[in-house]
């Protein structure tokens, strides 16, 4: 027998739903905490959403945040944030910092004068400093960008639920939608807690999480649908457990290999997309959890209509509001 890496033994019989109540409680608590965190601590909006200017500096001299700040203080720019950036891919003499200036009061367009003044001031402190990127977004655009971002996340949730509703039953759609909302909320909570930069790329990350999580949810739903047809009389609870167990190996292998790639990206992918990758990695963990404990929990509670005949008939019955009954 050849060597095989087996992360999950064959025929597992784990009773996942034994932790139904505590896990569901945990999900609710996590979601609530996330909302509270977002309201209390606020998101660390990037310039895409808040307007303002980000200047990336690079220098062979070590970054001296105090000196930078002092050099810029006579310019009266209001809220200025300076952070040093570290990355394993940087060369030894590559010292990078990010200077963020908030949108200037009463100005729609971005003024090159401000940027020039900042660059001159910083060059005074450190003559070897260069500016590999300068980005400015006016408050008008940033307001629209955040609206578009919210719409796109909501549209993704609705679009996916509609698809699931058509392909499965409405209970599945509700389960999928709430578990996706849960993933998005908890990830947002994490961003609020650690004050990670939240910008357009983060939205892309959120939607990736939605896409991944739904993938995971659908795979188990698919198996559950198959088992519901195969074992007409077994209780729903058993069938959910069976389906999760049957697909467990696949869940672990896929999540594992994806996470492996993402962790590599975190270390080697450069600092520009680190927060993006970090968000996806976290989202995949939470997404794997939620497709078992949020989506299936909800399906179990909502119950599923069990009078399906053959597969063809199942499709026919999967019509909207087909009158669900409680399962035994």
């Amino acid at each position: 027998m050849a060597f095989r890496l087996k992360l999950v033994p064959d025929n597992t019989k784990i009773d996942f739903l034994r932790w139904q109540v505590p896990t569901f409680g945990l999900s609710v608590v996590l979601s609530v905490i996330s909302v509270v965190l977002m309201l209390v601590m606020g998101m660390n909006y990037g310039i895409d959403f808040k307007g303002g200017t980000t200047i990336r500096t690079e220098s062979s001299q070590p970054v001296d945040i105090g000196a930078y700040r002092q050099a810029m203080s006579p310019l009266n720019l209001g809220d200025v944030t300076i952070t040093e950036v570290f990355d394993p891919t940087f060369r030894a003499d590559q010292n990078v910092a990010l200077v963020r200036i908030s949108a200037q009061e009463g100005l729609e367009a971005v003024t090159p004068e401000t940027i020039n003044a900042v660059e001159a001031a910083l060059q005074e402190v450190d003559p070897s400093i260069t500016f590999p990127s300068v980005e400015s977004v006016g408050p008008k655009v940033s307001g629209e960008l955040i609206n578009t971002a919210i719409y796109s996340v909501l549209a993704a949730l609705v679009g996916i639920s509609a698809y699931i509703w058509m392909r499965f039953e409405w209970q599945f759609a509700v389960g999928a939608m709430l578990s996706l909302a849960h993933d998005v909320l908890v990830t947002l909570g994490l961003f609020a807690l650690f004050q990670l930069k939240f910008d357009l790329t983060t939205i892309a990350a959120l939607l990736t999480i939605v896409g991944y999580s739904i993938n995971d949810t659908v795979v188990v739903f698919d198996r559950l649908r198959e088992n519901l047809i195969k074992y007409k009389t077994r209780p729903l609870r058993d069938l959910i457990n069976l389906s999760v167990n049957e697909t467990l190996s696949r869940t672990i292998i896929t999540s594992g290999s994806t996470l492996m790639v993402l962790v590599i990206m975190i270390f080697l992918g450069g600092d520009v997309i680190r927060e993006f990758v970090l968000a996806i990695a976290f989202g995949i963990l939470i997404g794997t959890y939620s497709s078992i404990y949020v989506a299936k929990n909800l399906v179990l509670w909502l119950g599923v209509r069990r009078d399906w005949g053959k597969k063809d008939e199942a499709k026919k019955n999967a019509s909207p509001f087909s009158g669900a009954e409680e399962s035994p």
Binding site: L5, V110, I115, K140, A204, T208, G211
Partner: protein, 554 residues
């Protein structure tokens, strides 16, 4: 049983070969890029220098030469989002309508009484007449200036919206005319921006309309957004006006139809000029940098025949008078006319350096923007940062790929090898499709590719796990493989279709980084479903037919 038709096999292998063929140029990025540039250059100028020919022959002409475009974040360059000030166009339309209306209404003074324009919001024209009884006549006169709107949506409507209020007539552009004007203004602005950017000669700029009144401009390889702004942000409206007076008071009283403009050379000095220009920059045929008689930088220009005639007549009638050369509401210079200038050419000199003279010539050649632009968003990405990102992305992708291959082979043995081969071909197909479509790869796009790797692996895992299960229920290997593919299908389709929904939404709603991500994700989904469902299957079956194993291990 376990078999695939011959034509299907040919189709699958054929598609892979075509895809990989189109992906090849990306392996020789610099050489192909030089080839493409050289071909474009030779086509444009018709001149074949040895360097151009060498660059062109660096890549065989029969090979595909489409490349994956690198986004600004990878290549470096400048990005601007500009808002076109459409209200200004409405305003200038109304302002230029007034002199003509005044002429006609004054002619009908016996019915209308005294006619005067009174202050009103910008973009509207409020005219008061002395005799209320003449109102219908006045409306008639205004209406004669209104024409049917020629646009798809506004057909049948007239261009002016006219209403009366007591003894006042209020005129403004109708909504249909406004929207037709908007389209025209944006089209014109796009065209002029494109010409100005092209004059600088950079590779593949993106210049496109966004929404109702915005223009997105992305120029790779340009030093900074500020540079780009200096090039396209200037209206470059050049006019030659007659000078009424000079002084040092910016608020000097003027008659209607005149204005006070500052001088560029002499701070604190102002010219009072007639608003109606003698000649405008639209009547220029050429402009080029030159030097004046003192060796200082200047710009030579040449009028078209109508412009030359107007300019000749004016200068002949006004010898000894100054006239002002006005660029974007500033007087560049106000020379005194020594003699009639009938040749149709002239020179603008003033305080400018060579670079400014050059830029002014470019702007004059390309034409004036119909209205001003406001910049809402600007980004500069240095080329080094882009290169760092490419390097980092490449390292991460290679290491990630190797890790996945090792993991798959450790988990599924020979089947893992099939999956890895399919994965490699999948990447090739992805790049081939991106090149064929001329899509743009951005940094988030690279992340999209990484996610594609994960999704492609997932499809294979679903199938292999299913085969394992089917083997456990003691079926023969052929039947198990067949059932594995059959039964994993619905999960794979559902999973990928839902991801596809997300990608489509990202593509429609997203902008910039989000869009780049959506593009690679969408194409990646297509290629990974193809490779997982057909290619690995074909590989498995081909192996199976050859080896005829009595039992298999997945």
């Amino acid at each position: 049983m376990l078999q695939i038709d011959r034509w299907k096999r040919i189709l699958i292998i054929g598609l892979c070969v075509i895809g990989l063929f189109y992906a090849i140029p990306n392996l020789f990025y610099q050489r192909v890029e030089a080839h493409n540039d050289a071909v474009a250059m030779i086509e444009k100028t018709g001149v074949e220098t040895p360097e151009l020919i060498a660059a062109r022959d660096g890549w065989p002409g029969w090979m595909p030469s489409g490349l994956v475009n690198l986004g600004l974040d990878l290549r470096g360059g400048a990005h601007l989002l500009a808002e076109v000030q459409l209200e200004q166009v409405y305003k200038s339309r109304m302002d230029s309508l007034w002199p003509e209306l005044r002429r006609d209404m004054t002619a009908a003074r016996d019915q209308l009484g005294a006619v005067r324009r009174v202050a009103s919001p910008e973009g509207t024209l409020r005219i008061e007449i002395g005799e209320q009884a003449g109102m219908s006549r006045a409306v008639e006169i205004v209406r004669s200036y209104s024409s049917p709107v020629t646009s798809l949506t506004g057909a049948g409507q007239s261009s002016l919206a006219i209403r009366t209020e007591g003894n006042a007539i209020i005129v403004q552009l109708s909504d249909a005319e406004k929207s037709a004007t908007n389209d025209r203004t944006i089209q014109q602005s796009l065209e002029i921006i494109r010409r100005r950017v092209d004059e600088v000669g950079t590779r593949e700029p993106t210049i496109m309309r966004q929404g109702e009144d915005r223009i997105l401009i992305q120029v790779p390889g340009i030093g900074s957004a500020e540079e780009l702004k200096a090039l396209i942000g200037t209206t470059a409206r050049l006019t030659f006006n007659s000078v009424v007076g000079t002084g040092t008071d910016p608020d000097a009283p003027v008659e209607f139809g005149q204005s006070v403009l500052p001088s560029v050379d002499q701070p604190g000095f102002y010219y009072t000029i007639e608003n109606n220009p003698v000649v405008t920059g639209e009547e220029l045929t050429d402009a080029m940098p030159a030097t004046d008689q003192n060796g200082m930088p200047a710009v030579d220009f040449r009028f078209n025949p109508t412009g030359a005639r107007k300019f000749g007549n004016y200068t002949a009638a006004n010898v000894g008078q100054p006239f002002a050369i006005v660029l974007d509401d500033e007087v560049i210079s106000a020379p005194v006319i020594r003699q009639a200038i009938t040749g149709g050419s002239g020179q603008i000199s003033g305080s400018m350096n060579f670079e400014e003279a050059n830029r002014l010539a470019v702007l004059l050649r390309a034409g004036a923007l119909p209205t001003e632009l406001t910049f809402l968003e600007e980004r500069t990405i240095g080329p080094e940062l882009g290169q760092d990102s490419i390097d980092a992305g490449r390292t991460a992708s290679v290491v990630g790929f190797v890790a996945i291959v090792a993991f798959m082979i450790a988990t599924y043995g020979l089947f893992g090898v099939f999956a890895s081969v399919a994965l490699a071909i999948n990447m090739g197909l992805l790049f081939g499709l991106l090149s064929m479509l001329g899509a743009t790869l951005t940094l988030p796009g690279i992340a999209g590719i990484v996610l594609t790797i994960a999704m492609a692996v997932d499809a294979n895992v679903l199938v292999f796990e299913r085969i394992r299960e089917e083997l456990r229920s003691a079926r023969g290997p052929a039947r198990a493989i067949e059932l594995g593919y059959e039964r994993a299908m619905s999960a794979i389709i559902d999973a990928n279709l839902t991801s596809f929904i997300v990608a489509a939404i990202l593509f429609t709603l997203g902008s910039g980084p989000v869009k780049g991500f959506a593009v690679t994700l969408t194409i990646g989904l297509v290629t990974s479903v193809f490779t997982a469902l057909w290619l690995t299957r074909l590989l498995t079956i081909m192996w199976f037919e050859r080896a005829r194993p009595r039992q298999i291990e997945v």
